[in-house]
């Protein structure tokens, strides 16, 4: 561990390392999240670089606790580290208060860990933007956490390669009265819009949480049904 910071200000007042981290995010596979009245859906591209890869071993949506999950765009290993840290934060809260953590609380505490990486000696910022989806006492939540440590609550958003186009698509399609089933269809449609090649149940991952506060990653068979409905 070195003593001096690697992320320092440019003369224009920018932190270039964070800009570059965001570039890494912009190159990553697209992830989309939509918050409905009664749930949240996460949909993410899972393009494999080779047909030889064991598809089932790649999991892009990580369960953080029963009622919160996350996905990402950017560097996979960085996401792995952060999701593990998030799980520990959840358990720490659980040990202290013996209660289901609030999504905003988790986002804020995880954001602190991400920000530290922009201001500590010898380490680089995380190269991922994370989408956190959860359902707590206050209702459904969708939060985006950036490499800078900034976090935003969204009604619907997209990160990664197709973020710009996907968000434009979402702006037209989103309405506040959406139910979770509509949201799932809209999310899949949005992903399909910018998808390179044919979208199949095994090259995407879909996760849904409803008002039962239980996050479920849909099995390929269910994803197949939803995709067929889109036709």
């Amino acid at each position: 561990m070195t003593d001096f910071a690697l992320t320092t200000f440019s003369s224009k007042g920018k932190l270039l390392q964070i800009e570059y981290a965001l570039n890494a995010v912009a190159k990553g596979d697209t992830a989309i999240g939509i918050k409905a009245k009664n749930g949240v859906v996460l949909v993410v591209e899972k393009k494999q670089s080779s047909i030889l890869i064991e598809e089932s071993s790649v999991q892009k949506i990580a369960l953080l606790t029963d009622n919160v999950a996350a996905t990402y765009a950017g560097l996979g290993p960085d996401f792995r580290v952060l999701s593990q840290q998030a799980r520990k934060l959840v358990k720490k809260y659980d040990l202290k208060y013996q209660e289901e953590i609030f999504v905003q609380t988790l986002s804020r505490e995880l954001a602190e860990d991400v920000q530290i990486a922009t201001q500590r000696g010898g380490i680089r910022p995380f190269g991922v933007s994370i989408l956190i989806a959860g359902y707590d006492e206050e209702g459904p939540h969708l939060v985006q956490l950036d490499p800078s440590g900034a976090y935003y609550s969204w009604k619907a958003t997209a990160i990664g390669k197709q973020a710009k186009n996907a968000k434009a698509f979402l702006e037209k399609r989103y309405n506040a009265d959406m139910e979770i089933e509509d949201a799932i269809n809209t999310a899949l449609l949005t992903l399909k819009e910018g998808f390179e090649g044919q979208i199949t149940p095994t090259n995407i991952e879909v996760g849904v949480i409803r008002d039962d506060h239980v996050f479920r990653i849909l099995p390929a068979s269910q994803v197949k049904d939803y995709l067929e409905e889109l036709e």
Partner: protein, 204 residues
């Protein structure tokens, strides 16, 4: 120090009623057989809907209360919302266990109203939480108060009845305990208000 829990003396009791809770404590602060003051506060309002009663070593009563105040204040600021009584009850247990090998010499009782529902929890000094009963006691006069509670208590008492029952239980119990007494204070919490009543007891 034989009987560090008996050094200062004092008794507390908590009860559940119909959509209300009550807490009562004596007012004595002593040092073994000597009485120092007769107006020591042992029940604290942590939040509009949460009361914390502490018995045991007075120094730790004060310190533990201050620690819980700090926790709830920071929580309110950080989380931007009030703490639920069940959450606070769990927090007390964690905070006590954190000092497992150098404990606070207190036996707390937490009482509160969560969405109108009465919550009551009691602990040993290292955080073993028990929230199964409708009334709980603590302190040097605890066992005597138990007897009175068993006799007077009924489930679903109204706030006025509960105030009467808990007051009588406290006074009867403390009468038998040389280290507790010198007055009593009864707190009754409903959705609308918190009433505080000071009781006169045998001045011994």
């Amino acid at each position: 120090m034989s009987g560090i829990f008996e050094y200062n003396g004092g008794s507390i009791v908590g009860m559940k009623g119909k959509n209300c809770i009550a807490m009562a404590c004596d007012r004595r602060f002593g040092q073994q057989m000597s009485t120092i003051t007769t107006n020591y506060q042992k029940v604290f309002k942590i939040q509009d809907n949460i009361l914390l009663a502490l018995s045991g070593l007075n120094s730790d009563i004060h310190t533990f209360y201050a620690l819980m105040e700090k926790e709830i204040n920071l929580y309110n600021l950080k989380e931007n919302r009030k703490m639920k009584p069940t959450t606070f009850a769990n927090l007390v247990a964690s905070a006590l266990y954190e000092r497992r090998f150098g404990p606070f010499f207190v036996t707390p009782i937490v009482a509160g109203l969560e969405n109108g529902k009465p919550i009551l929890a009691t602990y040993d000094s290292i955080g073993c939480k028990s929230d199964l009963d409708d009334f709980q006691v603590g302190g040097t006069g605890g066992n005597y108060i138990y007897g009175a509670c068993e006799a007077f208590f009924k489930p679903d008492l109204s706030p006025e009845e509960l105030e009467e029952v808990i007051g009588q239980s406290l006074v009867s119990g403390c009468d038998r305990d040389s280290l507790s007494g010198w007055g009593g204070v009864v707190y009754v919490l409903t959705e609308q208000k918190l009433t505080v009543k000071i009781l006169k007891t045998k001045q011994t």
